[in-house]
Symmetry: C3
Subunit: 350 residues, 3 copies
């Protein structure tokens, strides 16, 4: 895709300085961009690059005063960063939209329907009695079991897998290798020390505007539903166990795990490699620091915790500072004990 500076300026409602017929075909960082690229300047720290950049065009603030001549065409806007983000979105959406139609072979079972504007990649599989909305993009090798419902404008990347009875809302992005609806880890210990499987017959429900990162796994409920609520974003390699309920607009970073039946509130931030035990509740706006192990419910909104096991993050920071100094602390204590003994001896002598 190639555009003139004029076309982009019109899209962004910006004004042009320099050659309005210069052509750009890619987006780049101002410090690295080559001819044919469009860059942006938002942070003043990067201004020196403006005078040396190889980019053919740069989006700049309409308030910027040039200190030297600039070779690139300039597009002046009120907020260069958000204008550039807008372009990035256009670009990514255009790429996705270019995927349409059906690649053979692919499989669709009896009783399944799919809306307009869809893409079904080769080797993708749709089971029986599925209801799939408009503009849904199903990349190659995706697996969709039976009785699955998917809302409009949702994208399933290559090889993602939805077990039967999964419900996915609109505008969701499911990345490659994601598994949704696998059996919860439920096994009842028997008198002979073996384990009997507890059947898992529930499902997973994802509401709208959800993003699930590559190779993340979300187990179905034992009965009822494992739920991820509206707008929540989950990173790669995260584990969500059976009957978990994650609230709205919560973010969960990579490699974290939430154990069975726990409930995470709205607007929470769970950093990377966090573990949350089963059957607890985190209040809205809870923040959990990286690598923490959360073993108890958090009842107060806005709480920040850290550590394994996790507690108040400021106290944890202070405790860690002393922890690092423990060998010195031990020495001081030993010294005190020794001097105490000496004093006792002195007193005894007296």
């Amino acid at each position: 895709m190639e555009f003139t500076v004029q076309q982009i300026a019109e899209l962004l409602q910006g004004t042009i300085e320099g050659n309005d017929q210069a052509k750009v075909s890619s987006l780049g960082k101002i410090e690295e961009a080559q001819a044919g690229a469009l860059a942006f300047l938002s942070n003043a720290k990067y201004e020196p690059y403006l005078y040396t950049t190889g980019a053919s065009a740069v989006i700049v603030s309409d308030k910027l005063e040039l200190k030297k001549p600039v070779a690139a065409s300039l597009i002046r806007v009120s907020d260069p960063y958000s204008s550039f983000s807008k372009l990035l979105s256009y670009y990514q959406n255009a790429l996705l939209a270019s995927k349409t139609g059906l690649e053979e072979p692919c499989f669709m079972g009896k009783g399944s329907t799919i809306g307009e504007g869809h893409y079904r990649g080769a080797f993708s599989y749709i089971g029986h009695n599925c209801t799939i909305g408009n503009n849904v993009r199903i990349f190659p090798q995706v697996y969709i079991g039976d009785n699955v419902t998917i809302g409009d404008n949702t994208t399933l990347f290559a090889g993602s897998k939805l077990y039967s009875n999964t419900v996915i809302g609109a505008n969701c992005t499911i990345h490659a290798g994601v598994v949704i609806g696998s059996d919860g880890f439920g096994f009842a210990p028997q008198p002979d020390g073996s384990y009997q499987t507890v059947p898992q017959i529930g499902n997973v429900v994802l509401e709208d505007n959800i993003s699930i990162g590559a190779n993340t796994t979300i187990d179905c409920a034992t009965m009822g539903s494992t739920i991820i609520r509206e707008g929540t974003k989950i990173d790669n390699l995260v584990q969500i166990a059976h009957n978990v309920d994650v609230g709205r607009h919560t973010v969960i970073a990579a490699q974290s795990g939430i154990s069975g039946s726990s409930k995470v509130g709205n607007h929470c931030v769970i950093a990377g490699q966090v573990g949350i035990v089963g059957h607890i509740t985190l209040a809205d706006k809870t923040t959990v620091g990286a690598q923490s192990g959360v073993s108890k419910s958090v009842t107060k909104s806005g709480t920040i915790i850290q550590g394994s096991p996790a507690f108040d993050y400021k106290q944890n920071l202070k405790a860690i500072a002393v922890f690092r100094n423990l060998p010195e602390l031990q020495r001081e204590l030993d010294f005190l004990k020794e001097s105490n003994r000496n004093q006792s001896e002195i007193r005894d002598i007296k």
Copy 2:
């Protein structure tokens, strides 16, 4: 699938109170169930729901004395929970059993055989010289390499992958995205600082009645076999390295990892996000708490450890209690040092 209350009562050898021709087509929780659902009452805490439930039928204890009239049909049995579990198993098995036959296209190499009652989903791949038992269910996009052996009644969910020479027993469940038999992480450092690959030519052996959770990875042995023994249950996103040997009836929760050549005993419980270093042995019935890092062998059966690095879990709990109080402990120590100095000065003055 729709059943009458009478059919279900016969199956469970229960007695009916109310309409024996009422129809049920789903299973639900007593507090949420709607018309057409069958629920159960086991925990006395939930008895109030019995009088308000929307369920068409409820399984109850034959000893229960009703305090109010109940709209639902009742099926009385000696143990409602295990009767309900039995139904859940019937239900899940019936769902699996409904998957039979062959969906096109799918691939089977030369010299491979598969027993009766199987399901081979579309885009599934079976390599050369494989021996696959009866009633094996191979979901879409499963990959089975060459010379693989699979026992009766085993289910491989969508997109699970078995490298060549893998051996899987009977009654195993392999969830979506599982990788079995990938190369062990073996690289020999060279004088120039680069690494040379140590070929991994062993395989993975899973005995009978094993469950492997979604996106878990089990590496093949360098030589010989990585072994998971009978009845063991492994959760999602677990890493089992080359030449590991996991005993019988052990459970390993999500996101744990076991490093090369380590040996985990029978009837062990490994909680979530645990790491176990290489070349150690855990005795039978070892329990490892969540997020622990096990760096040494455990020789005594029944040991419970926790922490990173892990040690006796009670001592760990006590140490953690003091850890949280470290800033206060530091203050007390500083105070003692100060008062000690003062005393010394007092003595000096005297």
Copy 3:
């Protein structure tokens, strides 16, 4: 594949003792090997097995003096271990090389080219405008997006997935279930508490001689490239976030995660389950102990750190030793406080 002892001796330039026409068809450990297997003896500790092994042939040192008669044929070489490793490599390469040609159905988009000697497994997918070198092995159900470049002799195992614009060098090994090029986890918080997706339009570049373990995920850059440099080896279930740059000949063990924009140097060793925060730099030859959380840059080459948060590993070891003893330390401190109070009282009385 079956060989005579003579053929193997010629390959290894060794001398034979015993039957030079004995046939071997597998490789095994000296303590377990059966008839038809070839084993080796390198570590003197295993010498007793030489006299009892079931192996048909054993590779031994040309300096070894036999203490008893040996049933197996012997192949004498200067370094049995490296000779055996050589055989393992031959064996593994021969297995890979036996995979050639095209299995139907498989998919290749417009404008894509692939070199000589390739293998394309059934249900593998190659998008549009890809450039794929010679002797590339693409196992079943592999997904390769559009505009992807792959160097010579690279192997992609079953179900690995490369998003569009990925660049892979020569002699790389990508294991089953790996995802390369998924969107970085970038979401901008909005005034209403929701998150807006930050488009991720960069790619992933893997240089030559890289190995990526099963189900590992590597996100594309927001702009520019996420880079893994020459010779680096990454284990299973590792997470590499957007814009990360991992240096040459670095090893990263299973289940570790590196957050966005961090830079890991050359010749580093990252143990298992390590977390590295975003936007930091680790100097060359940094070693990070298992389960560590790295929260700050490491500036000095050769630094070894451990702990969560990580610091000098020796200091960490000492601090942990005191940590385990904290309850005792608390008791001692309490005793000192008590005795201090008593002394004060004694002084007061005086």
